[in-house]
Symmetry: C2
Subunit: 308 residues, 2 copies
């Protein structure tokens, strides 16, 4: 966690806790789907599931939680409490979390929670806090900016920007009921890869950026990846390739892992195609021997929203 | 070379030679700068230097050439003659080439020449011919589409698209007088690279695409690369790193190799900054012990132009 915490006694500061002057702050951040196939650690998409965090002054730390992630310990170890306390420099806080973002499923729940908690606690740059949780910035960037984002880590921290996104695209996410911890998913990756495969992903990513701005250019092959998905499937998730093919066969323009999985993302041309792919989801999951949900989502274009 | 040649006796066909019905066709294609730092084999930029090819019916092959590349053998081995003859299915052609694109300098001269020759000979898809020359499609794509392009090779051949480019950007190219054959530059590259470096280039490329559309987002670090430039510098071109730094010190927003070199590209915010960087070019080259030219260029937004 970065320095930048301030005790309320020292008064509000641009990078510190604003709770000295307000009775409570509410912040909402969207879920996100990172990688989008070839764009490993580079692109992410804000999606219409949300984490909301309210931070208020209190006598001692209180953590409450509703919705997704409500089963997590409601104490100082809770990520929202940790981030809010670090931002504020103390833990005399009431932290309330409401979430529709499945946890540990590759939908950026940690980054969204950290971004929302940091913003509700008054952090000047919530994206930095989201980045710290993941170690790479694209989920946090999508949770802050919304829409389709590019992100990288520069000398002074994460930098990110919105990219154009065709408004007619819709998205289906298959969310298995089991978690796939990001650390395990990272361990499945090789240390070295052929340069030709790196170049393959670079050229696919470049075309994918053009095609996500204009869906007439989209095709399934633009989601092809040679750097992460196959390694993770082989090590952790043998059903994934068939599920990805099934999503395209059901009508998606393309499909890919959502972040480090196990959720899988289908990109669909229009809401009708999206509904059709969503409807096929339960059968695809069942055929793969998995239980889970099939969600039809739209891009979140608002990103982080902060208010009283 | 692909099939698709047609003898004039069999009449013109959409993918064949059009010279049976016209007395001659003129085609012009721009130079291009590929890679743009991190976007190895993925992005390219059409620039305001051009190859023009005129193909006319003749009793036997005649090749004439003016400008850059005029010293190349004017016979059936000339790339323009080879491409035109393949497209037409015979070599009873007069092929005239006029070029301002330096040859063998990393400015896509071969791709531009192949694209223009194929188009002048009536090829249905000149980009395919340009792609065959290089084996990767981004130079050919820029020579056909102009502007900033993304390109990749799909199952059915090269696919490419324009990306937005901030109209206020200008470009300086340092063109050393020595050639750096692309084959040598390719041999300098490692077979394998760290996955982290591939991910680095992916995230830099994604942000670079956003920033080339909006120059306020541009910074020198977005041109950083870990996959090709340093290997090529070490093996073939030890002066390159200092020249790249010198271009930024002279006022460029960022700098990178142009294709496989030895030309170096400086991206400048506005024509005034461009002129300043161009003016510094001769001193930078001299300090590096090199002779060469410093060219101030603008993007070519027309791409391939074909007419009588």
């Amino acid at each position: 966690m970065p320095a930048g915490g301030h005790d309320v006694d020292s008064g509000p500061a641009s990078s510190g806790c604003l709770l000295a002057t307000v009775s409570g702050v509410r912040a909402r951040a969207p879920a996100s789907s990172a990688n989008l196939g070839p764009a490993f650690d580079a692109l992410a998409l804000g999606l219409s599931l949300h984490v909301e965090v309210v931070v208020e002054p209190a006598d001692r730390l209180e953590v409450t939680s509703e919705g997704e992630g409500a089963g997590l310990p409601r104490d100082a170890t809770h990520l929202a409490a940790r981030v809010a306390a670090e931002v504020c420099g103390h833990d005399r806080l009431r932290v309330h979390v409401t979430s529709t973002v499945p946890v540990g499923r590759g939908l950026g729940s940690s980054a969204a929670l950290a971004v929302a908690a940091a913003a509700a606690a008054g952090a000047a740059d919530p994206m930095v806090w989201g980045h710290l949780v993941d170690g790479h910035p694209e989920n946090a960037a999508a949770s802050v900016l919304g829409g389709l984002v590019a992100a990288t880590v520069g000398a002074e921290g994460p930098v990110a920007a919105r990219l154009p996104l065709d408004p007619a695209l819709s998205f289906v996410v298959l969310v298995p009921n089991h978690e796939l911890p990001t650390t395990l998913a990272r361990q499945a990756l090789p240390a070295e890869v052929p340069l030709a495969d790196a170049a393959f992903n670079l050229s696919r990513t470049s075309m994918l950026v053009a095609a996500l701005a204009d869906r007439r250019l989209l095709s399934a092959e633009l989601f092809e990846d040679r750097l992460h998905q196959a390694f993770r499937s082989a090590a952790l998730y043998p059903q994934a390739p068939r599920l990805l093919e099934g999503l395209v066969a059901a009508g998606a323009v393309g499909s890919c892992w959502s972040g480090a999985g196990p959720s899988l993302l289908a990109v669909c041309d229009g809401t009708e195609a999206g509904a059709q792919v969503q409807a096929a989801g339960p059968r695809l999951l069942a055929d793969a021997g998995l239980s889970g949900r099939s969600l039809l989502l739209v891009p979140d274009l608002d990103g982080l929203l902060v208010g009283p």
